[in-house]
């Protein structure tokens, strides 16, 4: 176990989005001892974010990547955090996450989730993607799960969409973020291999 934990120190994980999933997942990875995180988000911390995202009242108004970097270092001063204050598209994904072994998809919008999955399938066939899908509301613990499609893992219930009537609430958001972080640990500590033939369909 000790040597497996040691692997985390030499691991670089990308976090695409620093909202509910990204901030909580990054914090879990920092506590577990991941050596390097590449975090990206364009947003600033708002008071409304504090119901589920890993920020504090005195950070409202700060850039999320700045605030999250500070919080991660307060927990684990040895962690290297590379912060990118930008809006991610395919080009940015390819550029900033190229040295990461695993990328955590932590976007809000479903079209952005698909964007990073398609980009990674095409350009990063050797990297694992750990995505979140379906985390709104409360209860239904046992609906949360992880499914693997080759080098892609998807965590969540795959059905509960965030709406006005079904907001994202802290426990379920953090639960899915923890599933993602737990999957990252398994990938790194057990040396999982992406399955062969994981490229994009191209007739």
């Amino acid at each position: 176990m000790k040597s497996k934990l040691q692997k985390l120190k030499g691991t670089c994980v990308g976090i695409a989005g620093c909202g509910g999933l990204g901030s909580n997942c990054a914090m879990a990875l920092a506590r577990a001892g991941v050596g390097r995180l590449v975090i990206a988000d364009f947003d600033v911390v708002s008071a409304a974010n504090l119901d589920r995202q890993y920020y504090f009242l005195d950070q409202v108004g700060q850039k999320k990547v700045q605030a999250l970097g500070d919080n991660l270092r307060r927990v684990n001063p040895d962690i290297a955090v590379e912060a990118h204050d930008l809006r991610l598209g395919p080009d940015e994904v390819r550029r900033i996450f190229k040295d990461c072994q695993v990328i955590v998809e932590a976007f809000d919008r479903a079209d952005m989730k698909l964007m990073i999955i398609e980009t990674a399938s095409e350009h990063f066939p050797d990297k694992f993607i750990v995505a979140g899908s379906g985390l709104a509301g409360y209860g239904n613990n046992n609906d949360l799960r992880t499914r693997r499609l080759g080098s892609l893992f998807i965590c969540g219930d795959e059905t509960s969409e965030v709406t006005e009537d079904l907001p994202p609430l802290a426990p379920r958001v953090a639960a899915v973020a923890a599933l993602q972080a737990n999957q990252v640990l398994e990938i790194v500590m057990d040396d999982l291999e992406p399955a062969n033939g994981e490229d994009v369909w191209d007739e």
Binding site: A110, G134, L149
Partner: protein, 67 residues
């Protein structure tokens, strides 16, 4: 034809379907879906021109907003 959809065998009347047709038949209703056929990702823009036939292994998972 018979396909494997998310690890279950499914029998369908017909020889082949586009990914778009298959998703509609199988009630994948959310706008964003990850689709892999025999382990290869099908881009959303290719749903009309990529076809599923007998024996194919199809994996499809909804991507749901919220993060």
């Amino acid at each position: 034809m018979k396909i494997i959809l998310n690890n279950s065998e499914v029998s369908m009347a017909g020889e082949s379907f586009s990914v778009r047709e298959l998703l509609a038949l199988m009630n994948f209703t959310f706008p964003m879906i990850v689709v892999k056929i025999n382990g290869r990702l099908v881009r959303k823009e290719d749903y009309e021109r990529v076809f599923v036939g007998d024996g194919d292994n199809v994996e499809a998972i909804h991507l749901i907003s919220g993060g």
